[in-house]
Amino acid sequence: MERLAPRKTPLVWRVATVRDVRTESATARTIVFDVPDWPGHLPGQHVDIRLTAEDGYEAQRSYSIASPPADHALELTVELIDTGEVSPYLVEELQRGDQIELRGPIGGYFTWQPADGGPLVLLAGGSGLVPLMAMLRHRDASGATVPVSLLVSARALPALLYRDELSCRARDGVEVSYTLTREAPSGWTGWNRRVDAEMLRAVGADPQRRPLVYVCGPTGFVEHVAELLVGLGHDPHAIKTERFGPSGG
């Protein structure tokens, strides 16, 4: 199977135009951009966004790409951070037709493509789901049959991203599980606690299966899950992690 390498294009700021916005949860939305001459990306990569105020003040942040490489538009799903500087603008202010500066794609470490094989175990904390969603969407779009087990951890039901889409994708070798770490509604059938070793075993993160494991979320989540995985016998070097913090805001 052909393995794609990121294209060797210089990293330049491009002007992206908002084609559409979609509400994903109480605090997150997806922004669909048209980016002229977008060089293409691998699932898991991110972009840098730069905002400039009228007086020249600049703020720059990184956001994971949610859309698979085959899509014509570039989609980012952004979670609002109340104390943040860039995310409130992206989630609450930006409108269709607006333009912002963006550069990418960036980072080939936290990426997956069908030639990498599997089985895949994807472990998401909050909006850490975004780059893992790009992997899952690419798996389906490319017709790959690699088994995937996705575990999504979120505080509460209203914070869950892509819920309808994930229920559609949960077939043909794709399993999706949830845990809510705070309040769960009555009738909730997922877990209702912090991720633990038993949960990881249940979603197939057993080292004997030799899965490719990707963990993405806030630093506390990633550290906790990576520690549990090492405790289960995984080689720390075989676990790919990506952390984001409030400074991703």
Binding site: W13, V15, R50, L51, T52, A53, E54, G56, Y57, E58, A59, T83, G84, E85, Y89, E93, D98, Q99, I100, E101
Partner: protein
Amino acid sequence: MALISRGFRGRRRTDVDPARIPPGQYVVEGFPVLSAGPTPHVPLDQWTFTVRGAVGEPRTWSWEEFLALPSEAVHTDIHCVTKWTKLDTEWRGVSVDTLLGGVDASAGFVMAFCDGGYTTNLPLADVTGGHAWVAYEYDGKPLEPKHGGPARLLVPHLYFWKSAKWVRGLEVLDHDQPGFWENLGYHNRGDPWKEQRYWSD
């Protein structure tokens, strides 16, 4: 020429007297947490503060002894080389004059050393004469570990990387030598009003 983002203003405070803001800085409301490494957690019964080097016998205080030293309240603005300024911060700590009392001023320089291996160099004149403290309270409460607790250096008239977090002592030197950021090209003195960010400034 960068593209202007319609309606973007950032979270800066713009309601402040410009005379209080050094060149190239902007004013923030919060208190960003910056560090060169992980936050150390040293139990207070193992914490000491040491003055050593060109001072003859090293002097060391335990945490209890340190708290028993005369302390001062400090109200000041702070300026980070990453361009944020925070106004009207409230601290309590021991004046470095108290800690260096009787040290021969001809030595010239100090190197602050810290848990986690961080260092920063300062002219003796910048940490004496009521210009610097070892602070252990912020806003009336014990200084949080993420902000440098149990104690950090506070040298508010210089860029804030000089106000070393998790400080454990001062080495008095007869020559200047660069600390952790200074040897990556950050300015040896770091006066925000002269915008001394890097060697070339």
